[in-house]
Amino acid sequence: MAEKYIARSTAIAARMLGGEMMVMSAADSTFFTLNEVATVIWQAADGRTPLSEIVAGKICHEFEVEAERAQHGAERFVDELSQHGILLVSDRPFDSPPFAETP
């Protein structure tokens, strides 16, 4: 399976509040509240670290989730956010990722 690289779009507004990450698309105003796992993926989306490495290194390790299940959940999360332009996805590392700062 091809590797995925993910980067946070700059066309979003985000804020951490009460332990939850709120992300809003500036393009279509859709609003997401990310749970703990999704927040970790969001914060790790630097455009250079492969998604599989984020899942193995952070999700499985920190949340004690079985690898295949974690990868499947991460893929679904990435697909959903990328449809709203909140996460950018590529099959190769981004040259100069258009990071949104993590609040």
């Binding site: 507004a13 509040l17 709120m22 809003m24 500036a26 105003s29």
Partner: protein, 273 residues
């Protein structure tokens, strides 16, 4: 500081909402009188106007601009362009000058005022929100909700010691770390212009009709999400969306927000304090 000159002041109406005065320069005296009547209580003086608009009216014999009711507001080369079936306009936030070409109907100028105020407020950390608001014992309260949530009902039930600011669109202004609700002339079903007063905000309530009167807690992220749904922002400009979102987050960190479950009788006001 006023941007008006004395020569045009005679042909102008000055509408002051939330301590922001807009000068509307229009030569047609009957339209001017209509505006003064419609915004009665919010007519200010030329000394304080912060923005100036030239208004051209198209004659009723002319075809309408378009039949399209869709509002379009976009930023182009530093100017906001405003467009709907019954008006076209532009406003330069740097020079604080603009031009509107519109029909004689009052809804066009009503929309222009709302749009311009929402853009000005966004830069200052404030916003317009679908909500009724009122002052009681020197504190302002906002009652937010979509159409049918009870904005008009709660306004109609207000006891005599309550000053109604609006039953439809509330005006939130930020001053330092404090938020104020200000009266607006934008009326809903009550068809009553609000009082031109302001007060520091005590709380914002999300209205829900129910079988009892109670104030219930709401989590911060849900509160912000609900607030964002009710804030008026006419332009889906990415920078504007970011500004409004940040404003909503900062508002939530200062102003208490709750759910207000209520039955439609006056006793609900017993718990608003």
């Amino acid at each position: 500081m006023s941007v008006m000159t004395a020569s045009v002041a005679a042909d102008s109406v000055f509408i002051e909402i939330g301590e922001i005065s807009l000068a509307l320069h229009v030569q047609d005296s009957s339209f001017r009188r209509m505006v003064e009547d419609r915004y009665s209580g919010f007519v200010g003086s030329s000394r304080d106007s912060q923005c100036e608009f030239e208004i051209d009216l198209y004659d009723s014999s002319e075809p309408v601009l378009t039949d399209d009711d869709q509002l379009e507001v976009k930023l182009e080369a530093g100017e906001w362009l405003l467009k709907r079936g019954d008006f076209r306009g532009r406003w330069n936030p740097r020079t604080k000058r603009g031009h509107i070409r519109q029909s004689r109907n009052p809804y066009a100028i009503d929309s222009v005022l709302r749009i311009v105020h929402s853009l000005i407020l966004a830069k200052q950390g404030g916003f317009l929100v679908h909500a009724a608001s009122a002052i009681r014992r020197d504190k302002a309260f906002i009652f937010s909700g979509v159409s049918g949530a009870g904005k008009t009902t709660i306004s109609r039930l207000a006891p005599p010691d309550v000053t109604l600011l609006t039953d439809e669109i509330s005006y939130v202004r930020r001053e330092g770390n404090r938020y104020f609700a200000c009266g607006t002339p934008f009326a809903g079903e009550l068809a009553r212009v609000g009082a031109n007063q302001s007060a520091p905000l005590g709380a914002l309530f999300f209205l829900e009709k129910g079988l009892r009167n109670s104030i219930e807690p709401i989590g911060p992220t849900e509160a912000i999400q609900r607030l964002m749904r009710n804030i008026l922002f006419f332009a889906h400009d990415p920078e504007l969306v970011k500004l409004v979102f940040q404003s909503a987050c900062e508002f939530a960190s200062v102003v208490p927000m709750h759910r207000l479950i209520f039955v439609p009788d006056q006793r609900v006001w017993d718990i608003i304090r």
